[in-house]
């Protein structure tokens, strides 16, 4: 267990092609470059990425397992769509898991995690006024990442990451992040202070409330768009 900070751990960046493709596709879907419902034709992906069909197909299988794409037999993969009903379930579960994560963060009070959370919160405040929302979104993403890692449960972390990917796609469907993102700042502050104070109950409640509010906005927008 002799791990000092002089990190010799060389994690090779040369990941497998499949892995790269997987990440590329994931972010392409998350960013809206591939829209929900859109067909993803293997041959086209081959041309666009420059890799063989093998790697494309295997990457697609993983995304399929994550629920990000749905494969229709003999028709091919499409970017997963989501119904209002499923979206509600998604947010329900997210609330449950993120509540757990918040609670655990508050219980553990890992200084490193808290520092990361606070840093991102501060950054959110700084960039909240900007026209371009991408900085704010980035800070928020980082905040969540810290929250997930902080809960100390790899399974929760993994599942929440999956759910977040799906939520991102949902945003693409219903085009609803701009207004909401500002309002949620105070909610996030509540989460942060509860964690800093080690108040498990409050942290859980704050997380759940935060997700509930997000869910409300998203579901309304989704209903409107149908």
């Amino acid at each position: 267990m002799a791990e000092d900070d002089s990190d010799l751990n060389v994690t090779r960046e040369t990941t497998s092609l499949r892995q790269l493709v997987e990440n590329r596709l994931r972010s392409a879907i998350g960013s809206g470059r591939f829209k929900p419902g859109q067909r993803l034709i293997e041959r086209e992906l081959c041309e666009q990425t420059g890799v063989g069909r093998t790697s494309i197909r295997e990457a697609l299988r993983q995304l399929e397992a994550e629920g990000l794409v749905t494969t229709i037999p003999h028709r091919g993969p499409v970017v997963s769509t989501i119904t209002a009903n499923e979206a509600a379930q998604l947010y329900d579960l997210r609330g449950l898991l993120e509540g757990y994560a918040g609670r655990e963060c508050a219980r553990r009070r890992d200084p490193a995690i808290i520092a990361r959370l606070r840093k991102q919160f501060v950054r959110m405040g700084e960039v909240a006024g900007e026209q371009d929302r991408s900085n704010l979104l980035a800070a928020k993403t980082e905040f969540y990442a810290a929250l997930l890692e902080g809960c100390g449960n790899a399974f929760v972390e993994r599942f929440l990451k999956m759910l977040l990917n799906r939520v991102t796609v949902l945003r693409m469907t219903s085009m609803t992040q701009a207004n909401r993102i500002g309002n949620s700042l105070s909610e996030i502050e509540n989460i942060l202070t509860a964690i800093e104070n080690g108040d498990e109950e409050a942290a859980e409640r704050a997380c759940v409330l935060h997700i509930r509010n997000a869910a409300k906005v998203a579901l309304e927008a989704l209903a409107r768009s149908e």
Copy 2:
């Protein structure tokens, strides 16, 4: 929505080969035919299943995404092992999710689900005395399946299925199902009656308690085996 029970919905049996392979491998792992830590060599799997490498590999990618196998670069896939620490996290999350499932079952009180639960519970009682535990295990599996479906949340259902698969592998690691399975009958009865009564709190508590007890036994056995 005119769906009567004369079900014309012909869902093709002829699933894809990849799907079949995936299920085969999953159950081979779940049944202990492939043991944790064991290497799974593609070519051997090809010979054993009689399908090409493509299908094998794609099936492996899905199992990898589920966490059931771990692929070591340029070395190949192995059946995932699990540390005591991870196992504790696994059970924590399972408690959380199954608690939710129990609560939701109690809230919804779907008669069809309740009937299934009760049926399996009765069956458990009938076969509890048998020397061969497989009937009991089957009933328990069915009971869980009904509980998961009954919660009405596809995401919860899916995640819990993943976790259950991992737990099954864990059993293979620590060889500990025989004694426990009998003791849990009364716990299961508590779950069932709480759901039948529509008592959400009690259902959640009963589920969580059930998992906690299961976790304790499993973790002790796991610790002993290390």
